[in-house]
Point group: C4
Chain length 293, copies 4
Amino acid sequence: MKRMKVKNELARQIMGEILGTFVLLLFGCAAAAQVKTSRETKGQFLSGNIAFSVGVMSAMYLCRAVSGAHLNPAVSLSFCVLGDLAWIKLLPYSLAQILGAYLASGLVYLIYHDAIMEFSGGVLTVFGPNETASIFATYPTDVVSVQTNFLDQVVGTAMLMLCILPLNDKRNAPAPEALLPPIVATVVLGISISMSANCGAAINPARDLGPRLFTFTAGWGTEVFTCYDYFFWIPLVAPMVGGVLGSIIYLVFIQWHLPELEDESESGEMNDQTKVMEHNNKKDEIYLKMSSI
Amino acid sequence: MKRMKVKNELARQIMGEILGTFVLLLFGCAAAAQVKTSRETKGQFLSGNIAFSVGVMSAMYLCRAVSGAHLNPAVSLSFCVLGDLAWIKLLPYSLAQILGAYLASGLVYLIYHDAIMEFSGGVLTVFGPNETASIFATYPTDVVSVQTNFLDQVVGTAMLMLCILPLNDKRNAPAPEALLPPIVATVVLGISISMSANCGAAINPARDLGPRLFTFTAGWGTEVFTCYDYFFWIPLVAPMVGGVLGSIIYLVFIQWHLPELEDESESGEMNDQTKVMEHNNKKDEIYLKMSSI
Amino acid sequence: MKRMKVKNELARQIMGEILGTFVLLLFGCAAAAQVKTSRETKGQFLSGNIAFSVGVMSAMYLCRAVSGAHLNPAVSLSFCVLGDLAWIKLLPYSLAQILGAYLASGLVYLIYHDAIMEFSGGVLTVFGPNETASIFATYPTDVVSVQTNFLDQVVGTAMLMLCILPLNDKRNAPAPEALLPPIVATVVLGISISMSANCGAAINPARDLGPRLFTFTAGWGTEVFTCYDYFFWIPLVAPMVGGVLGSIIYLVFIQWHLPELEDESESGEMNDQTKVMEHNNKKDEIYLKMSSI
Amino acid sequence: MKRMKVKNELARQIMGEILGTFVLLLFGCAAAAQVKTSRETKGQFLSGNIAFSVGVMSAMYLCRAVSGAHLNPAVSLSFCVLGDLAWIKLLPYSLAQILGAYLASGLVYLIYHDAIMEFSGGVLTVFGPNETASIFATYPTDVVSVQTNFLDQVVGTAMLMLCILPLNDKRNAPAPEALLPPIVATVVLGISISMSANCGAAINPARDLGPRLFTFTAGWGTEVFTCYDYFFWIPLVAPMVGGVLGSIIYLVFIQWHLPELEDESESGEMNDQTKVMEHNNKKDEIYLKMSSI
């Protein structure tokens, strides 16, 4: 099979991001379709939150060794700002993520086509009790102003970056590398049960634009873009701002002040805090060794 | 007790699969019975999803050292295709799984016999508000076409294989071996809350056929097979297609392009310490690559 | 503080079991009181299930280094049968567990005294829409026969032992030692969402008798014992039978056929299966080492 | 960036506690706002419990390497009593936690401003069906006496300390260091689903006073302090009592009787390899002791 191996690293990464975002959205939008079309008899609001969370976990295990499993242009941009992703890769990553989300939306539509037709009476709309557009993209509630929705998406995405950056920071007290996916997934669950009332907690331009483009091409019409006073730009722009903001908050308030790693400082001295943590880590290691004997 | 040890490996594996699938279905069908017969006062739709998930976890810890804990003919078939299970074992594994599911259904019927009689008025039927067949096997909703149900089961099982194969792939960034059961269980939870609205997310021929055979023999009659235009063949055939399809997608889009493990490409002998050091080096590489997560 | 150390091992173990079972029941019965007295506005049926599960986890971390964290006479009896607990300790362990459960019930009554009085109109009863006895002990539903309830408790407790014995069996593929508490807790959650419709999933004589004795002494009267045709003996006797039965099933169908551990067999030869698992374990260890650096 | 590093350890710790408590309350209060203002259509009571739990996990990963992630004056006081925090730091820690909670409440108010205005009809009140004060601080139910509420908060916080102290006690059977945050979060979930019916399970003076001060300054008026007969002092004082009480119970009933760690009782020097071996031996002992779990 070695002949089939894709030699170009960026091409592999793009494949990884397409497939990863595809898995994320397939879980998430399928659950939204199940809850909506079953009129909450086969799941409730929480189901959709859990499904996006499981989607994050599954997508991360699937593609993080290949592409880093960003699954989100706001995450990719943040990593560009942090110096962990080449700027040249930001656009390809983002397009790959949007494509993966678009394809997943299409498949969800195929699977739930009959149920959506039954639920909507065959009329694909954005408004009213039989609307089905919200299965795919996010839409705001009526009472919320554009400024509030923008702030909501900035804060939600800032929380995402603020909470996941320490998980993998070796100078902090990180989570086990092999268990990052379920822990990141839990953070996403927390955001979606606490910050989705205003406008659906997209916190991810690809998660929103991909499905919106799909509904645009599949019969929901231009209203998916024009509705709610052209709301669609908010989940595109605000998460980019929020992701960078959250990353900066992490750097300024936490990361800059953490002790240097030994092999970075190259001097043999450690303060007590570091010693204690290293001691604890060694203990952990021994425990886990024990447990797998 | 050594005299009692079953010498034949296949016999041990069959025992493992029977008992594992028995545990899976006992949790799952008992929860379905609890929710149904209590008219959702002692649990809701989500309870059944969680119970199947806990069942997967428990069954995997129980028998994965013995038989690999496939618990599902679609998984066994996929491992045959992947070269991880001898083709000669596919039929025995599948029959063992169906038998375990049948036995679990029988025990659930015994435990919930009184409640089922009370709920159904003593008439065991497949249709109507007092139907109880859906406690055991899966049935579609009225509005969904046969093609959609087939696609639904293909996609659900493909997602299962696509999401669990990376978890144990040493060339990818796998989950901790000792924690595979709860993580696989979480994937199954995700599938059952997002893809069960159409026809119940069997994604497992044994999980469906075993209980259906039980209801056939226990008084629900031939209708369990004939209803919904002979729907029963879909959860038998579609998961087999989907499992293989998902496995192939994983291979083609991810696995072929992952870096080779050193000890696969080299045949020289190393002592353990050297191996550990080399592994650490490799992990460092992967770590650096993944530092963009 | 060394002067205060309790020298007698059994005395320490009894203290551990009292406190552990106290924690388990405090979580569980307090959640039941919260759901019941708030008339399901502050939690639902699932809340009680989750609370017992968290109680198991917390109690195990608290006292497993001291007493093994049995928390359940059926578990203690099973370990006696398996040779892991001296028979002479069975009665002290069981009495300690009942005492811990009794004390926790008393504290729950104190905390929720006002709410229980408001809910019940001041009349502490076992029957009717304002009954509050089921906050503490378990009671069956009307339609279920004594045989079915007995079977229900046998099966539930058998599932408990069958599912937790492999978790710590070094010859099987066990869970990480340091994560046994949340995984055992998940098994208990599974049992309580799938096998509690008939008679409340006590699966633990101490969990049932301790609270029942408390309600007897606190004003609910003799009816807590006489109701439902002296139902109270079922959660006392059936779990003892079920625990031993589940343990035997694990031994006969799984444990006897697992490969010997190297240092038990003392011969240098391993079959392939064992080798692969050792390899996997070493990998795991390296991963977890990496993650905590 | 080294020039930016805050040299003063206490200043860094205060920054950590502010940010950590900010994250905790942002998740928790935002979820409460979502459930309340959506009239339970976008989440239920359980959502708020889960959100506080995810907040604990996220905040702990964020700041535990910096400040220990107390996030709660009752926890800080307990650690002072246990000798793990200098008494001089108790007040700065507590003020930092209150400030973080205050700031998070302000941001939640900004995000949910429109929804709160819609829900409340523009009148910010503590009482009635359109009250919104309970989004932020905790309030009791009508029927519960002051003594019961005090006891409730003492017990809840005692359970918190009793259940989290063993998780990190090397002489006990602790959880993996790198997984403490999700496990502590699970304990908090357990407390909030079982002991929040009386007065909201603050179990944390900062979690309650910060938001209460915010509502006082943001337009809810003095009633937030005077209502329910000056209830506000209970979640300030009772958790301090409860935290210390729970810690003492852990010491007296469990910790004093655990075996000494070797490297505490010995002062000789060992190389690392020897230490690891000794630890393994000790773990083996513990393993054997725990083999009865």
